[in-house]
Subunit: 390 residues, 3 copies
Amino acid sequence: MNNMEKAVALIKELETLKPNIYGKDFLLTWENSVDNLKAVMLVAEILQLLHKEKQPWRIFDYGLAISIFRDNSTRTRFSFASAVNGLGLGLSELDEVKSQIAHGETVRETANMISFLTEVIGIRDDMYPGEGHTYMQEVADAVEEGFQNGLLAQRPTLVNLQCDLDHPTQSLSDLLKLKDYFGGWDQLKGKKIAMSWAYSPSYGKPLSVPQGVINLMTRFGMDVVLAHPEGYDLQPDTLVSADKFAKESGGSFRKTHSMADAFKDADVVYPKSWAPMAVMQQRTKLLQGGDKQGLKDLEQHCLAENAKHMDWECTEEMMKLTKDGNALYEHCLPADISGISCKQGEVAKSVFERYRLHTYQEAGYKPFVIASMIFNSKIQAVAYKLKSFI
Amino acid sequence: MNNMEKAVALIKELETLKPNIYGKDFLLTWENSVDNLKAVMLVAEILQLLHKEKQPWRIFDYGLAISIFRDNSTRTRFSFASAVNGLGLGLSELDEVKSQIAHGETVRETANMISFLTEVIGIRDDMYPGEGHTYMQEVADAVEEGFQNGLLAQRPTLVNLQCDLDHPTQSLSDLLKLKDYFGGWDQLKGKKIAMSWAYSPSYGKPLSVPQGVINLMTRFGMDVVLAHPEGYDLQPDTLVSADKFAKESGGSFRKTHSMADAFKDADVVYPKSWAPMAVMQQRTKLLQGGDKQGLKDLEQHCLAENAKHMDWECTEEMMKLTKDGNALYEHCLPADISGISCKQGEVAKSVFERYRLHTYQEAGYKPFVIASMIFNSKIQAVAYKLKSFI
Amino acid sequence: MNNMEKAVALIKELETLKPNIYGKDFLLTWENSVDNLKAVMLVAEILQLLHKEKQPWRIFDYGLAISIFRDNSTRTRFSFASAVNGLGLGLSELDEVKSQIAHGETVRETANMISFLTEVIGIRDDMYPGEGHTYMQEVADAVEEGFQNGLLAQRPTLVNLQCDLDHPTQSLSDLLKLKDYFGGWDQLKGKKIAMSWAYSPSYGKPLSVPQGVINLMTRFGMDVVLAHPEGYDLQPDTLVSADKFAKESGGSFRKTHSMADAFKDADVVYPKSWAPMAVMQQRTKLLQGGDKQGLKDLEQHCLAENAKHMDWECTEEMMKLTKDGNALYEHCLPADISGISCKQGEVAKSVFERYRLHTYQEAGYKPFVIASMIFNSKIQAVAYKLKSFI
């Protein structure tokens, strides 16, 4: 099948689903039905195929897409820029002082003030537990009020570009890579994925990636094992929901404190560092209180704590434990690569190099996942519209 | 009437005017005839109606719009971004060190260097009395020379996004809100508007909003009362012109040092803080001289001076003085709201909340006012072109 | 001939050439054949003529252009923004910490991560000898690998917006000005151009402009004289190649330590300051080592050294030495103008003012040169495509 034939086949598959995304924001995968998730992924694949053939997939005549990044970003920033460009929107970035957590009246007013011609608002706010998702909801409520009162001619769609809870554009890209690698969603049933903490010399990495992965892969029948040293807990709710999803899909979910245990016979490994939940909460308080010495002390304490777990590295030895010694390595990038980006980090140089192009391909889905979330929210007859591009 | 029928009616009204804006910059409302002002407002309303119906109103195939912000801005920045996006231009922002006041050769050269494919230059430069408008004129002269000498294939249109004298995109939005609220320009004759100073815990707010309002509303037959404590004078010229405009239009203009006097029986109130003219001039000198201690002292002095007038607040009691206790509250946003954005400020929380959506609607005209200024400057047969969109 | 007739004639001339630019990056003029250079210049002239007639020359339906500026820039930044806007691309800027020189894995990964929908990457990296061109090659290698492995659907074209070796968008603009001024490339044979160092109170200016000029003008049969005080040497290789080019084209190339000698009977003068090669290398080491005191000392030493050569100024007296006292003055802008931008600098106020509009016209080619480089790299049947615009 050539690319256009593949696109036609995917549109047919899309037509068998009953998604409910039209007019909705995309904030958390676990608020969405499996059909919603499949629709987002299928449309992403179709847009990527159209892009490979340089078939335009513009759906807007004009309008703005606004990105709000409350944390540094290169990959997600350019993914968002790419997605909205392809859809026909102009991009404007709203700069905010990074550590400032605006709430209430300011959010309500600003959200409307920037939205008179705005179709999409993409937000990354992943630094503070309890903050990012709440902020996105506040923005959503604000533009909903503006739209309902006729102040905005359109309801800007919110896209979560990473919050404190979930990183849906990443986890759906991770899943699309798995779909491609193993040959379909059906092939994921019973496959084991090790979502494992890994050592990093840095500090304060967000929890949204592991939380997102364990709550998405469990919905597709995978055997998900979450591994981390004691104390590096995720938000408790996210474990409860992952467990529920596993039961529903016929997959499984369990936690372990051994990386080797998680890697044993795994089909996929996702070794990645994060900060303990409790530390992130403490850090938020210190940041809010402007306690510089406290922040310094906390950082020292955390780095020292991390250093006790330097053996949590995705080495060649660790990889040998996996299924046929040949598990797929996933990462959201950038990885802390031992001997390259740091002295010792999340992954051995040789392991990373072997899977490097796979990780690039994984990342390559992201612009299309973002575009798809917008597409599905804005277009009522998605399959019909897609056919018009072919 | 539906939106398209409304647009058709407004185009008919537009055809009765004799504006003279084609090929012109838009720097000050008082340089423009009433027909020019009406044309700008009518086209803004028409573009807004087209936008509500998602009818594109693009007039450029390609080209740049450049914004130069010499003061922080969110609302105006996004209004400009929205306007030029709708018209079909790409946006580029020229960052300058904020406190730097470039003149002469540098302005002449830079203005041309950035304009080879540029259709519009929007400038906000409101911090220094005697500077902002002068700077805009220098840029205009520079690109005029470049155009006349064939160096530029098109003459970029300058749009004043706020200068030391006027804030025309704001005041025309304020006026459009009044037109909508009271049911037409005719209905404004004899209506009383209180443009009043109000207390704010901040310092150094520009004078362009009150100057703009008293010089615009007086042209439409309104009874304009300017109120401020002694010493908080505006630029003297702007009072002379407001007086002249009032006489011409059959309205009136007077000054008072009592907020209550201004609010008495007012149909509209516009309570907003600003710094005294003399202070702004002193501040400019200190900034130019890099006198940090002087600036600190001036700020202390001003805040202390402001604090003497904390009773200049738009409270519920003050609102009761207005016509039927029911005047429309206007503000350019963001307002200093007592108990929300500050301990005590320009307006009581309950008053602001009651008029909040009105202020959002007021702000919502701005993208279309900016677009209209460009539209009227670039398109010779405005009504004809607008009809082509319907 | 009107503009469209001129464009048609230039397309005919283009059809006589055998360029080899399709699918290529544009990094150095000296990697390119004379036919390549002529093709870039002819297409630039044609696009400029189309622009004068407001005939769109869009070649992309969508896609991103990314600029990476590792040095401040206004002119080149807006030239790039203009070029890619005209071609139909959205612009995204990649900010990097300016002094940071990223290499290896980071470059390889980042280049791909930002390129999933990217058609063009423009880079300015001119501060460090041995760095800028190398960096551009690394980026080129990275996206080539991504494209070859199917990770990128298109191969982003790299455009050198100034590196440590060459500044091709500038030198080709300089040459287009000469072509226009003297009436054709043929008219340049035997014309003398003085590429001369000039005094400036600033420090650390890059060498790419003089290196670019001596290596481009020698290819068109000009008599190129490079003048500078002892010690202000360029990169040795660039003199060897300039000499070779002069021999091939029937022009000439020589070096002198006297500005007057270079100006004598010159048809064109290009007086411009630069830092000595050795100083730039030393500066790079100090910057990399974070040696602030060393940098301070080096700056003091250099400014003192510069000050010994304050007589290297393009004065009226110096201009009298040129052919009929009437040589064309060229500059890449901004010039250090005595009595305007500094007390004493590269050029006398009266000389600059006489040629000011000429320098603006020179700069005015740059957006079209950049657009042409992209056009020639992306479009296989260039003349055919251009005809479709007419």
